[in-house]
């Protein structure tokens, strides 16, 4: 699949944004994080900013963005529509929670809004995951690894962001650092497991079933067009094995290994502001790493239409 930057950025940014929102909603709502004006403003600004930037980016991917409102109508059948509905719906409790938290401090309805925002965030990330997980033509996505992956990476990037936020405000805590570290390790493990699964994938759909020509080998002789068309540009993206291996290495370094190392250092109680710097660095590096991971998520996904082209 073509790794369009708009979609790569969209899923990465909203994943991190919703992860952060969910954590702020729960932890802030339940009072584990103090209701501080600047912390709230920056924290919620960051979360909602990432979400909004992601959503805008995804709208940029549309052929007719002015009709985007129509996407809220088909929630009964379409995960994309559900994502649209959920993402917009989440803005309501998230907005209320943010306002409440920033301006009014923690009160009952703020807690409720926070928890609702957290639920909204989780639901939205689930719908995003399901958009991909539901696509049968792409075996690498249509697996039990996809939805948990989206959730894990969301809460992972969210927790690392939260940690950097708290550390920046010098109110970091070891449980948060530890959680972020553990989630990063979990994400790493999950990604490795996903890759392992995908690399060993035996796909029932072959050039034989695609053409109805049973037995033996089916080799593409000539395409219907000698130049690249929409199908090949959108779904025929190919990445060399060597190139993919290199990018997997970069993903592991940036998204998991370096952040884990930084968080470990933070855990070993380095002095402030070093912990803050390391924490922020961990978040930035991880974000970059997840962008690479998401790019690979697309680039390594093989659509069945490529079977028709012998790719």
């Amino acid at each position: 699949m073509h790794p369009a930057f708009s979609v790569v950025f969209f899923t990465t940014a909203t994943g991190a944004g919703y992860g952060l929102l969910a954590l702020l909603g729960v932890l802030g709502g339940l009072g584990f994080i103090p209701a501080d004006f600047w912390l709230g403003l920056i924290g919620m600004g960051l979360a909602l900013g990432l979400i909004a930037a992601g959503l805008l980016s995804s709208a940029g991917h549309l052929g007719r963005p002015e009709r985007a409102w129509r996407a809220f109508s088909q929630w009964r059948s379409s995960w994309l529509s559900r994502e649209g509905v959920a993402s917009v719906a989440t803005f309501i409790p998230a907005g209320l929670f943010g306002l409440g938290w920033v301006f009014f401090g923690r009160t009952g309805w703020v807690t409720v809004a926070g928890l609702l925002a957290a639920i909204g965030a989780v639901v939205t990330v689930c719908t995003t995951g399901m958009i991909y997980a539901s696509l049968k033509p792409i075996a690498q996505w249509h697996s039990r690894y996809t939805l948990p992956g989206y959730l894990i990476f969301s809460v992972m990037t969210g927790s690392v962001l939260l940690n950097s936020l708290l550390q920046a405000f010098a109110i970091g805590s070891n449980p948060v650092v530890a959680a972020a570290l553990l989630l990063t390790l979990l994400g790493w493990g999950w990604k490795l497991a996903t890759w392992r699964y995908n690399d060993r994938l035996e796909i029932a759909t072959t050039a034989n079933t695609a053409t109805g020509l049973a037995g033996g080998t089916v080799r593409s002789l000539e395409w219907p067009h000698t130049e690249e068309n929409y199908l090949l540009k959108e779904m025929g993206f190919r990445i060399a094995r060597k190139h993919a291996a290199k990018l997997r290495g970069i993903t592991q370094a940036l998204a998991f290994a370096l952040p884990a190392l930084f968080l470990l250092a933070v855990l070993f109680a380095l002095p402030w502001p070093l912990v803050a710097v390391l924490s922020v660095l961990a978040a930035i590096v991880q974000f970059a790493g997840i962008l690479v991971e998401r790019w690979l998520f697309f680039a390594e996904a093989k659509h069945t239409v490529t079977l028709y082209y012998g790719r």
Partner: protein, 244 residues
């Protein structure tokens, strides 16, 4: 409405005979020609005279080399929308632009609702949908919905453009939901198959596989030729034949 109809009155579709298709591209351009002025007009062509030429087409013909233990064969393979019974391209659509008609089972796009998110093209395993970057919407085969019922065409012409054009008669059109229809019987007699049945999309269109090598030329069970047994060999035989 992107929920699928629980039942369609008809299952209109195509039957494509891979034993007969010579890959001449007649169906391809007949489709392009009709449809570029038809229901989803235009089928835009980007950079049509340059190096990055890329146009919207509803029907494309591939060719393959199919090699089995029995030997090799070149197969020409037309590919277009299969008007599936349970098409995910419809259900994934967030806006209701993609839909399956309850009356005849044709899968269509209501262009005015399409936001161009391209997800339907991801959901289609067959590559049946092509995006028109100029208009910003997805386009696809309409099974010539603007021909098959068209009062302004002579009744005999109310078939999809690809079927009307096909010089080898490798394309057939009809109601695959009616077991008595000519297309259903053709599928039954020739062992028509679904493409990617494992996807579970239940394509309406069927493909008739090439004649198996073992069945080939069953009509010619010729004994080996033996040299004529006549005095004087062949020439003697000629003389004898002429004398008779």
């Amino acid at each position: 409405m992107t929920c699928l109809p629980t039942h369609t009155d008809k299952k209109l579709g195509l039957v494509i005979d891979l034993d007969t298709c010579v890959g001449c591209q007649a169906c391809v351009t007949a489709c392009k020609e009709w449809n570029t002025g038809g229901h989803m007009a235009p089928l835009t062509d980007i950079d049509p005279y340059g190096g990055d030429v890329d146009g919207v087409w509803f029907n494309r013909v591939h060719s393959y080399e199919h090699t089995t233990e029995a030997g090799g064969r070149t197969v020409n393979f037309p590919r277009s929308c299969l008007h599936c019974e349970t098409p995910a391209c419809v259900t994934v659509c967030p806006t209701g632009a993609s839909y399956k008609r309850a009356s005849d089972g044709i899968v269509l796009i209501d262009e005015s609702k399409c936001i161009g998110c391209k997800l339907c093209s991801w959901a289609c395993p067959y590559g049946a949908r092509e995006f028109d970057t100029d208009v910003g919407v997805m386009k696809k085969c309409t099974l010539c919905v603007d021909r098959i019922y068209n009062d302004n065409l002579a009744e005999e012409d109310r078939v999809p453009a690809c079927v009307a054009a096909c010089p080898t008669s490798a394309r057939h059109f009809g109601d695959l939901g009616d077991p008595a229809s000519a297309v259903s019987q053709l599928v039954a007699s020739r062992g028509g198959v679904d493409l990617m049945p494992e996807m579970g999309y239940k394509p309406t269109n069927k493909y008739l596989p090439p004649r198996a090598h073992t069945e080939r030329a069953a009509s010619v069970a010729a004994p080996r030729l033996e040299a004529v047994k006549a005095e004087g060999g062949f020439l003697g035989w000629v003389d004898r034949m002429l004398s008779n």
